[in-house]
Amino acid sequence: MAGRLLSFRSMEEISLGSQLLQFTVTGITIGSVYAMVAIGFNIIYNVTEAINFAQGEFVMLGGLVMVFFRVALGLPVFLALPLTVVVVTLVGIILDRLAIKPLSEPSVLTMVIATIGASFFIRGAAMMIWGKNPYDLPPFTGRTPISFLGAAVQPQGIWVLAFRVVVVVALTLFFDRTIMGKALRACAVNPEASRLVGINVRQMVLISFALSAGIGALGGIVITPISLMEYDRGPMLAVKGFSACILGGMGSFPGGILGGLLIGLIESLGAGLVSSGYKDVFALLVLLLVLFVRPSGLLGSSEVAKIKKF
């Protein structure tokens, strides 16, 4: 009897252990997408000091445009993926040209409101085009889960991680090794001084919108096979990516990645262990807590925060 009880208990422990592992795997997957959203936020924030509220819409568009190329046109992944990124990047460029550049009195307040307007417009347009139903996308390499220490890992989850690593490496190289990347970083430190040394700040704003649109699209492309995609997914993704940004520290790329992973983990562990109905609350409580306790975030510096307008 005692032996049976013991074995029963240890079985339960194993299942709890693998459950935890399962939640962690899910958390890292979804956290990677939040990290990509956070990186998008940071790129635009660094150049303009404004928050782009349409960032979640880029992710949504990435997913839905990919569905169009893959499912409706039947293109293979290696063709559909770059095409989707190009299309969404174009949307980012159009957003800058139509909504940000024409602002007669550009301030952080008006820029934020302009991006809110743009996000509504994009969401409405997506609803007219794709309707209100969620869409599925075939994963890049099958749906057979891989067993990993008792947890089931979706092959697509590995793709998500791989893409995040690629994005991070590519961005690091871009910001450290190219003139354009350095110019972007200069704008982040001091736009006026950058203008004085001959950097075209207007063009940098355009590039920042294009870049973050492209990265958002990638996030949407890789996550759609796991979580489906519909027209109104943007705001929640933006809120989570935003929480990731704040948690890691506004403007810090490593911070955004760390914040994204943490928010993903908190969310999936909270949903699994506490309550799934309140799954979205956990991430936001963390956001509030960070704002109140350490507004510069985990990796952000309070010195930089002082000179920023937002």
Binding site: I51, L98, A99, P102, L103, S104, E105, V108, L109, T110, V112, I113, A114, I116, G117, A118, S119, F120, F121, I122, R123, G124, A125, M127, M128, P235, M236, V239, F242, S243, I246, G277, Y278, D280, V281, L284, L285, L287, L288, L291, F292, P295, A305, K306, K308, K309, F310
Partner: protein
């Protein structure tokens, strides 16, 4: 202001005569309720220069406190309204103090999180709030045994509150506090250099606007007799900001004009478009922020300037010839 009050007083007499616009009275009640929120929001955004994405939640807090207390505990509605305002003020203080002491737009982020959390709580605490199905049978209001049971009566009631709020806020803006708020909007450094306690005034504006929103929420609950979480989500917060932007965020009159226009738009005119509604709102914000950043109240001045520019160009051309 007196002229505006008279126009408001006469409006129902006309509206009731013409059957086509009879229900406009009903819409005007909602417009009045939303005006109360935008007046408060105007103090915060236009004067203190802070974005709040959580005003729908203060609005909802007022509505749900009124609703839950009257329906579940049978409290007299008149006690619920000040109680809701008090709770909203305390909540605003709790959010506002940490985030407004910092420079920048931390309030926007804190209120964004607050708004989403409140909506989720309204949806999940089914035993108290009724969940997504909402809360029904909220009693109406009555004064001295005279129940406000028709749109006309409620119309006069709501709009007299709006006028009082408008009057008080106009005075506030003309006073020392108003000057301090405006100086903060122009430049925080300059304001604090001349001795304005920036954080204190920003927090004051936020708490006041939160309380006004809660008052509006209570009025909404007692008029509609039914509330559900969807009426108080992030979309509504943004809609409130659209109202303010459309009317003109630097003017209390703009706040009222914007509230009336957007209310008519969403309750009356946009029905014809249905699915395109979201897109139209987006287009409105973009148009306003690009072409009329000071809102509709600035339109006459803007037209005048354009005309002046044109005639200026013409006379210049003539001179060159």
């Amino acid at each position: 202001m007196i002229g505006f009050g008279l126009a408001l007083a006469v409006f129902p007499l006309f509206a009731q005569k013409v059957s086509f616009v009879q229900h406009y009275l009903d819409v005007m009640v909602f417009a009045g309720i939303f005006s109360l929120v935008t007046i408060g929001l105007c103090l915060l955004m236009g004067y203190a220069g802070q974005i709040s994405l959580g005003h729908a939640s203060f609005f909802g807090l007022g509505a749900y406190i009124s609703g839950v207390m009257t329906v579940k505990y049978g409290v007299n509605p008149w006690y619920c309204i000040p109680f809701g305002m008090a709770v909203a003020s305390i909540v605003a203080l709790v959010i506002g103090v940490p985030s407004l002491k910092l420079r920048g737009h931390y309030l926007a982020m804190a209120t964004l999180a607050f708004c989403v959390i409140v909506t989720i709580v309204f949806n999940e605490r089914v035993e108290i709030t009724g969940g997504p199905d909402g809360l029904a049978f909220i009693p109406g209001l009555g004064i001295f045994g005279w129940t406000l049971n028709s749109p006309v009566r409620y119309y006069y009631f709501v709009w007299s509150i709006v006028l009082v709020a408008l009057f008080l806020c106009t005075n506030l803006i003309g006073s020392r506090v108003g000057r301090a708020l405006r100086s903060i909007h122009d430049s925080q450094q300059a304001a604090s250099a001349v001795g304005v306690d920036v954080a204190k005034y920003k927090i004051c504006a936020f708490v006041l606007s939160g309380a006004l929103a809660a008052l509006a929420g209570s009025l909404y609950a007692h008029y509609l007799n039914f509330i559900n979480p969807a009426s108080f989500d992030l979309f509504v917060s943004i809609k409130l900001i659209i109202m303010l932007m459309l009317g003109g965020m630097f003017s209390l009159w703009g706040a009222v004009i914007g509230a009336v226009l957007i209310t008519f738009l969403s309750y009356e005119w946009l029905h014809y478009f249905e699915d395109a509604e979201v897109m139209i709102y987006g287009a409105i914000i973009l148009t306003i922020v690009i072409f009329l950043p000071k809102g509709l109240v600035n339109l006459p001045e803007r037209l005048k300037r354009i005309q002046a520019d044109r005639s200026g160009v013409r006379s210049k051309v003539k001179a060159e010839r």
